[in-house]
Assembly symmetry: C2
């Protein structure tokens, strides 16, 4: 069974009819919608849907075409960084797909999108064509207003589409990435310095685990502090390893883990890794789960 | 989404054509087959299938009817205790069903089966009508050969069907039970006394956890010992609690848990409980798992 997820973000977050338009497109495909929501402050719409790779890719093409028709970037304001009507289109391999598969899909989609609409496209994260484009923040730096000039800089030759700004639609980033797991560890202390020290110890940027981003912050409701983490590749840095490293570092301050939270959804594979680790079951995988055998396409499609 | 599992056992384990007959019936229903196998030594066939409750119940009626046609108990020999052509028919609530739902289904099925075929039926485990019939071993004691006499004992009034043996088909036990989780803990020692002492400590029958059956045994391949457990109600005695109690008791002998094994399949709900415990996530449930939202019928059927 193969499942691909797509999480396009659109620069329209205030008109509820926009969601109706997206919903009408989504309903034409055998895909499952996990999220479809507007953020008026960001003036941005989030859409998360998944299914077999072929319908997901086709649906993404139709969805983004509809957004290109409806959104005019010349009138867009909002608090979230953005550079295009279709701002970002990441593809995420959930099951039965390698990252190489997702990169291939992203690049094919990006080239088709650029050609069809005459919109400059950059590939980012795992689909990037140079390291300077891996981070979305670097690609998007300057935002919509700075893109006309950025496109004249030699290091920002587009990956697909025209080498100049589409004034109405802006610029689009198309990428491939692992599912992001947002995992927060709440500590039994109100000492922010402890949370920050632990975050520093466990995150990649300051010497910690390769696929962990982390910061220490205060949780207003409880008066306690939190190590807030993004696990960006759960296959290589699984949840349990990040948690146990936090616990190990917290022990140096005599601080316990009070509770944790997962924000959003987690792939069954990641949950299986957690169970396999703590239950000490070598080679545990999802096929041990009854419901795995009820998933659509199980055993019928190639993987 | 509602999922019911049915695990009928039939007294034919040597003729591969018998499996073909069962398979032909199973293919007519929207159910998923997890196991369909013969045991020649036991002379017994195991079948595990699941799906929505209505097709599972109908399929069970058709499957058992076919087995009644094909099997003649007067010629049956085998090393496993048995009392009927259709020996046992347990129904197991996997998701979106209470035990009461499963008991109702089991009893309705049992009455229909008894009436259709003129076979005495006893209800067992959660479907039992008196405590003396809760354990299958008590119901089946005397086996096929002893059933004619047993049916004349006043305390063995049937729950459905005739009060005398069906010589060709024997007697059938129909029950409802939680999914059984077979979980083995391999210890880093070869000392069988340690495994036996731990099994004694953790199992219900000698003072341990309410829904744990356990025994200590030697694992020939490794020379190490094992606490072999059956967890008979994972909702009330979850896997992690059984494992951690074994670990706690093993510590008294300075013995570590080397590794564990799950024999067979485990419900997603049980895996979610494990992850929720070790990751310390209050209220964690399966709806946090991406694949949960791809299961057939999710959000469309009543639960």
């Amino acid at each position: 069974m193969r499942i691909l997820q797509c999480v396009p973000n659109f620069s329209e977050g205030r008109d509820p009819r926009f969601l109706d338009e997206l919903r009408a497109v989504l309903e034409r495909y055998p895909v499952r919608v996990l999220d479809l929501s507007l953020d008026p402050d960001h003036n941005r719409a989030d859409c998360t849907f998944l299914g077999a790779p072929e319908p997901v890719e086709e649906c993404a093409a139709d969805l983004t075409a509809r957004a290109v028709e409806l959104i005019d970037m010349r009138r867009h304001t909002g608090s979230h960084p953005r550079m295009g009507a279709v701002d970002v289109v990441p593809f995420v391999p959930i099951r039965g797909l390698t990252m190489d598969d997702a990169v291939e899909i992203a690049r094919r989609f990006g080239r088709g999108f650029a050609e069809r609409h005459g919109i400059p496209v950059f590939f980012y994260e795992e689909a990037c064509t140079s390291e300077g484009r891996r981070n979305l923040a670097d690609v998007r730096r300057g935002e919509y207003e700075g893109m006309a000039a950025k496109l004249h800089e030699p290091e920002w030759e587009v990956d697909a589409g025209p080498q100049e700004l589409n004034e109405r639609s802006g610029v689009t980033a198309v990428g491939a990435r692992m599912p992001l797991i947002a995992f927060n560890v709440n500590l039994a202390t109100g000492d922010l310095a402890v949370a920050k020290a632990i975050a520093t110890a466990v995150r990649h940027s300051s010497g910690g685990l390769r696929y962990v981003k982390a910061m220490g912050l205060e949780v207003a409701e409880t008066g306690l502090v939190q190590v807030s983490m993004n696990l960006v590749d759960h296959r290589r840095t699984p949840i349990h390893r990040a948690l146990e490293l936090v616990r190990l570092e917290a022990a140096r301050y005599g601080v316990a883990v009070r509770e944790c939270e997962l924000v959003g959804l987690v792939p069954l594979e990641a949950l299986g890794d957690v169970a396999g680790y703590y239950l000490q079951i070598p080679g545990f995988d999802e096929s041990k789960v009854i419901e795995y055998h009820l998933l659509p396409g199980d055993g019928e499609e190639e993987t």
